[in-house]
Point group: C2
Chain length 429, copies 2
């Protein structure tokens, strides 16, 4: 009976959410770790490559088992679709929670943090892969460099949210940095893809053309971002009145705002940006409105319901067997990924942003998780043939490992930050 | 780039939600009609069979345009998946909103009104479809009968609320009747689905077997329903403590309750019941808990976000050309749907419930709107292949038309009811 497959999907959906919530709660309560890590671990556990293979039947595994083919042209994966909806809702709410006015102030430091956090990891990734795999093509080294540049806004935001640090100066700097990073990451991805396309057919590399393309994407990315930020800051009264106003009487203004968030998430993809960038800036735009709290109240439950799906599904995509082959590269890259981001982001935060040593460490470590953006870049590399299964496995490992270590690394600095704030508050009183 | 297809999905998803919300709001505010009607109409408008065909490009249409092919064995339709999630969330919240305790008291009259309102419309729907479409399968006739049995709780409640009649004896009777009707409708749906599964594979229809099967599903349906209702009424303290308790500190108890709702929705499918029965009774179970209001506060936004997708997508599946082909059936069924409910509910309300003629008319007419439950049944029929586009169009038409006519038909009786009450009050004074 064909309804069976839908029923199985309901089960799969419910089990993913259940596993994510239960393991997430366990991590939060007993291990004092962010729920998001528990959600990722839940994904590893119920992955079809692990336990999931034992107790789900074939047709369910089929629904998530085609992970490595997901990037094949024309494939359309239902789990991926729900993940996509989830991550857009997450980033919209993250934008909505941001204090836009202080966000605007942190612009320059955030930008420098982002650039610093891109340059070092890119060099590390490129050089180390070249040293360990000298027989690979230049495009393979470029791709591995590129996968190290990204910062996962989603994971960073969740960790900051759960630790109650989203509203701090450090939190805002990290967020600005992560958003700009995303734009830079997408630019690098586009550049690397065009380079590898040329080298693959054995043609001459027209660096002028590549540079123009990179410039175009950069300009558009920042333009979209500034346009929505300024729309929110300057026209928030008009947005309240003409966009949210008509839906206030029925109490659906927050739902309508979220729908606009989805539309903007799509719109930015037309300029080669990733949808999460659009979702985030859409949230930012509404964050300047007087209705901010009401919007949050109604959209946060939607995010709380869907976001764990995204993280759990991310964990489910890891094939432990693939990781084994490139484990040395993976470990070295992970260490360098942490050091690269930390140093690259610490320097501008400390010296341009004039943050304390402790705060600059929080910013540097907060930028460490690679998460989904690293996976997207690695997937594109695999698809274009620039990297093989081993390098892909290593890239996936780096994305996950950097995410796993972040909360642990951050904790002492956040604790010290709390102490500093308490001392400051006591001094004021 | 292969991500394109996901980006297009985001656009599709956002446009459906946007259209549903805007037209829904318009209906509510300017036409003084329930928003759900607007959402359906929005679907009709943006359907690939109508305007959607003009301004969406091919690959988007592909995402919803394959509506009639979706139902081929093994096909798995992403829009259907999201609809499924949406309708489960909707029914869970509907169950959660029910006042379980007063619900339990008003049992007998409500049950008789419900049964009366099921028998006549079912017979009318079955016989008329059989007479007009004698070449169709028996499962098609059964489905058309089934679509006429349901009463929309949501629409009925909204109409009663707007007219200030929710707390009257008539209002309570209608409400209890509508709720029981829903369960009967869902049981009928399950029976019809299993019958159509047998006839579709070309098996002989053994009516004795069908009767036993129907009996089995009825028993299981009511057993599951009573079990969860009683679990809620008797063990609500334990549910609060052991099911919701562990998630209270992180504020995710409502999310966890909804996840349990999804699991129960799946579980009942293992007894041949439709997932919405499970979702509804899961909601009922939690409705008895002390946390009811908190649960509603956090799950209602999820429902408000997703449910319009369900109704709009239903509207999108109507091909106006198909509707034209079945217009006579649609008109006849609409008239019979009104007469069937009116007579079937009037008799028990007047003679068992001892209501006045005017009050029994109010009960009968209040049960007329088919709304979402009729659509759920029709959608399941289309999905299972039991009914085709023409019959589906007619079923949607009946759901829409019965909902449209109800307020107009009710008005004179409600006015007379007000006059009676005033006379009574004057006599008392």
């Amino acid at each position: 009976m064909e309804l069976e497959v839908y029923y199985k999907f309901i089960l799969t959906f419910a089990l993913i959410l259940l596993a994510a919530r239960v393991v997430g709660e366990f991590f939060e309560r007993y291990l004092k770790q962010p729920a998001v890590l528990g959600e990722l671990i839940a994904g590893l556990i119920i992955s079809p490559f692990a336990l999931g293979g034992l107790f789900f039947d074939d047709s369910i595994i089929l629904n998530f088992g085609t992970v490595h083919d997901v990037f094949g042209v024309g494939e359309f994966h239902v789990m991926e679709v729900i993940s996509e909806i989830a991550v857009i809702a997450l980033l919209f709410v993250a934008g909505l929670e941001t204090d836009v006015r202080s966000f605007a102030k942190q612009g320059i430091t955030g930008a420098l943090v982002a650039f610093g956090g891109v340059i070092l990891p890119f060099l590390f990734g490129f050089v180390v892969t070249w040293l360990i795999y000298p027989d690979e093509d230049i495009s393979a080294w470029l791709f591995m460099g590129a996968t190290l540049t990204a910062t996962s806004i989603g994971i960073t935001v969740r960790i900051l949210m759960e630790m109650g640090k989203l509203q701090t100066k450090e939190g805002t700097t990290i967020l600005v940095g992560a958003v700009i990073d995303d734009i830079i990451g997408i630019v690098i991805l586009s550049v690397v893809i065009s380079i590898s396309a040329v080298t693959k057919v054995g043609g001459d590399l027209d660096m002028g053309h590549v540079a123009i393309d990179a410039f175009r994407i950069t300009i558009i990315g920042f333009a979209v971002w500034f346009a929505l930020l300024i729309a929110g800051l300057k026209f928030h009264k008009q947005i309240s009145k003409y966009v949210l106003g008509p839906f206030k009487r029925s109490g659906t203004a927050p739902i309508f705002a979220l729908i606009i968030g989805f539309l903007i998430a799509w719109a930015v993809t037309q300029f080669d940006l990733h949808p999460v960038v659009g979702a985030y800036v859409a949230g930012l735009m509404f964050a300047a409105c007087a209705e901010k709290e009401e919007l949050l109240e109604q959209t946060r439950p939607i995010m709380l319901f869907l976001a764990p799906f995204f993280f759990c599904y991310l964990g489910m995509q890891v094939d432990l067997a693939d990781l084994k082959a490139g484990i040395w590269l993976a470990l070295i890259l992970t260490i360098l990924a942490v050091i690269g981001k930390l140093v690259g982001c610490y320097i501008p935060a400390r010296f341009q942003g004039k943050l304390s040593h402790n705060s600059a460490m929080i910013v540097g470590l907060g930028m460490v998780p690679r998460g989904e953006v690293g996976l997207i870049i690695a997937g594109a590399g695999l698809l274009s043939g620039a990297i093989g299964g081993t390098l892909f496995g290593a890239a996936v490992f780096v994305s996950l490992a950097t995410t796993f270590v972040t909360p642990t690394l951050l904790k002492p600095f956040l604790k010290k930050h709390d102490d500093e704030e308490r001392r400051l508050a006591a001094g004021d009183g």
